[in-house]
C-alpha cells in the first residue's frame, strides 16, 4: 500500500441506483424487518471471493447504468453479475476476475448490456456502519446506508478485519472458473422454476398449469422489493385473506389477476394469496430480469 494514502474510494458517477449490499438481515422478520441483501447472491459471493473477502462482505450493487469510482489507495476490485463493459482509466478490464486498481485510477462499470445488477467488490470490503448486523440498504424500510450519490467517499475495511459476525448461507457458490456474468442476450423468456405456494388453491380454472402455459413481461415499476409481472391475468378466487408471512420469491396473485414476485426488500407480511414460490436457485435470474423482458414458469419436478 502507498504510504499515507487514505483507504477510501470516491464515487464519480453514482448511476441510476447503486447501493451497499451484503447478506441482509435474516432473523428479524417477526419485527417487520425485510431480509434485504444482495439480490443476486451468487454474484455477490463470487465478487468477494475474487478479491479474497469473506462471502458476506459488503459490496456495491448497481442497477442498469453501472457506477464509476476512483481509488484513493491501491486496492483489488472485482465486477460480477450483470454483463457490462468495465474500464480502468478507459482501458478494457475483465468481469469475473480480480482487477488491480492503483491509487488515482478510475474504475467504470458502464451500462449493462445484459442483466440488471452488477456487483463491485473491493479487497477489505466497504466499511459501512451496520444496522441489525447488516450494511445493506433496504429500500422498503429505509434502513441501512443511503443510496450512493456523486461525490460520496466510501471507507474501505481491512482484509484481516472480521467483526465476529456469523457468515451467511452461501447457497450455490460458483467456482472461480465459472465466472460467467449474467447473460440474457439469448432468445426466449427466462424460465423460472416454481413450487406451489401456500395458497395455490386460490387459483381457479387450470390452476398452476396456467402459470406454466403463460408468459409474462417484467414491468418498469419493478425494483428491489418486487418484480411486477404483466401478462394474461390468472383466474383466482375472490375474497380476502388475513395478512401472513412472506418468503423471498413468493408470487402473489392480485385481485385483478396480475402477479407480484417478491425480492429481497419485500414486506414481511402480505394479504394477497401466494400462489407459487420461486425456487431459490431461480432468484438470481429474477434479480437480473430487465424491465420489458419475458418470464416463463416451470413447476419444479423431482429433478430440481
Amino acid at each position: 500500500m502507498t504510504g499515507g494514502s487514505e483507504q477510501v474510494i470516491r464515487v464519480r458517477r453514482a448511476g441510476a441506483l447503486t447501493t451497499v449490499q451484503d447478506c441482509g438481515r435474516p432473523g428479524y422478520a417477526h419485527l417487520g424487518v425485510p431480509r434485504s441483501g444482495a439480490l443476486d447472491a451468487p454474484a455477490h459471493h463470487l465478487a468477494n471471493r475474487l478479491v479474497g473477502n469473506p462471502p458476506d462482505t459488503p459490496v456495491l450493487e448497481t442497477t442498469l447504468t453501472g457506477v464509476a469510482v476512483s481509488a484513493e489507495c491501491d486496492v483489488i476490485a472485482a465486477v460480477t453479475g450483470a454483463l457490462a463493459p468495465v474500464r480502468i482509466d478507459g482501458e478494457h478490464a475483465r468481469m469475473g476476475a480480480p482487477i488491480r486498481l492503483r491509487r488515482g485510477q478510475l474504475l467504470e462499470i458502464r451500462s449493462a448490456t445484459s442483466g440488471v445488477r452488477s456487483y463491485l467488490a473491493f479487497s477489505g470490503g466497504l466499511a459501512v456502519p451496520r444496522v441489525l448486523g447488516s450494511a445493506s440498504a433496504d429500500l422498503l424500510s429505509g434502513m441501512g446506508p443511503a443510496r450512493l450519490a456523486n461525490g460520496d467517499v466510501l471507507q474501505l475495511g481491512r482484509l484481516d478485519g472480521t467483526d465476529g459476525r456469523d457468515g451467511c448461507a452461501l447457497g450455490q457458490l460458483p467456482a472461480c472458473g465459472e465466472a460467467a456474468p449474467a447473460d440474457d442476450s439469448g432468445q426466449g423468456p427466462r424460465q423460472l422454476v416454481i413450487h406451489p405456494g401456500p395458497r395455490f388453491d386460490w387459483l381457479v380454472g387450470r390452476g398452476l398449469a396456467a402459470l406454466e402455459e403463460g408468459q409474462w413481461t417484467v414491468s418498469p415499476d419493478s425494483n428491489r422489493v418486487a418484480l411486477r409481472l404483466a401478462g394474461q391475468p390468472v383466474r383466482r378466487r375472490r375474497g380476502e385473506l388475513a395478512s401472513e408471512g412472506l418468503v423471498s420469491g413468493a408470487i402473489q396473485a392480485l385481485p385483478d389477476g396480475h402477479l407480484v414476485l417478491f425480492l429481497a426488500d419485500h414486506p414481511t407480511t402480505g394479504g394477497y394469496p401466494v400462489i407459487a414460490v420461486v425456487d431459490p436457485a431461480s432468484l438470481p435470474a429474477c434479480a437480473q430480469a430487465r424491465p420489458g423482458s419475458k418470464i416463463s414458469f416451470r413447476l419444479a419436478s423431482s429433478r430440481d
Binding site: P26, G27, Y28, A29, H30, L31, G32, V33, P34, R35, V131, L132, L140, S141, G142, M143, H195, P196, G197, P198, R199, A242, S243, E244, G245, L246, V247, G249, A250, P267, T268, T269, V274, V277, V278, D279, P280, A300
Partner: protein, 205 residues
C-alpha cells in the same frame, strides 16, 4: 393445524384463531431456545398463521408440530408497555359511527380495552395490536392516506397499529403518540414485540 408448503424451504402453519397463533409461536420460540430446528432463520407470526422460514425437512418439522399440544397460553407472558396517546385523530368520527357511540367516547373505550401485540409487519416496528375483537372491529378506509406522520395510532379490523415512520396508510387514525416505535440503535429496536401487552393512556389535552 394445517400445513401449507411455502416453497422448498418454508412452511406456513395455519390455525383457527389469534390465540392459537400466540400459543404456537410461544411454543416454537421455547423449543428453538433449547435447540429445536436449528436451521430456522425466521419465524413470522401473523393473524391466523405462523411462517417458518429455513426448514430443511418439512415432513419431520410438521410431525413435531403435530405432536405438541398447543394450549392457548395465559395472557401473562409479555411485558406491559404504556403508550401515551392523544386521541385527536381525523377518523374519530368514523370510528365512533362504526361503534355506534358519540365521538368523545372513543378514547375512553379504546384505552379501557385490553390490548396485546399479535405480530409485527408492514414496516419495521409496526405492531398489530389485538384488542378490538369482540365487537370493536373497524373497517379500514376505502382509500389509504398518502402520508401519515410517525406516531399515528390507527385502527383496522381487530387491531390497533402505530406507524413507526411517516408512511402511507389505510387505517382509521384515532390519535397520535410521541413513543418511538422503532430505533435500530436501541436494544431492542422495536418498542412493541409479539406477546407484549399494551396499555393506552389517554393524554388528550
Amino acid at each position: 393445524m394445517r400445513f401449507r408448503p411455502a416453497g422448498p424451504g418454508a412452511l406456513l402453519v395455519e390455525v383457527d384463531s389469534l390465540a392459537q397463533v400466540r400459543a404456537l409461536h410461544a411454543r416454537i420460540e421455547r423449543e428453538r431456545a433449547s435447540g429445536w430446528a436449528p436451521g430456522l432463520v425466521d419465524v413470522i407470526p401473523a393473524a391466523r398463521t405462523v411462517l417458518l422460514d429455513g426448514v430443511a425437512d418439512r415432513t419431520a418439522l410438521a410431525a413435531d408440530l403435530r405432536s405438541w399440544s398447543i394450549e392457548p397460553s395465559p395472557p401473562a407472558a409479555g411485558q406491559v408497555v404504556e403508550i401515551a396517546c392523544r386521541y385527536d385523530g381525523p377518523d374519530l368520527r368514523d370510528v365512533a359511527r362504526q361503534w355506534g357511540v358519540p365521538p368523545e367516547r372513543v378514547a375512553d373505550i379504546h384505552s379501557r380495552l385490553s390490548h396485546e401485540v399479535a405480530f409485527c409487519g408492514f414496516a419495521p416496528g409496526f405492531p398489530y395490536i389485538a384488542g378490538l375483537g369482540g365487537g370493536h372491529e373497524v373497517t379500514r378506509r376505502d382509500r389509504p392516506r398518502p402520508a401519515l406522520p410517525a406516531g399515528s395510532v390507527g385502527l383496522g379490523d381487530e387491531y390497533t397499529g402505530i406507524y413507526p415512520r411517516n408512511s402511507p396508510g389505510g387505517w382509521q387514525i384515532i390519535g397520535h403518540t410521541d413513543a418511538v416505535m422503532w430505533d435500530p440503535g436501541r436494544e431492542p429496536a422495536a418498542l412493541l414485540r409479539p406477546g407484549d401487552r399494551v396499555r393506552f393512556v389517554n393524554v388528550t389535552p
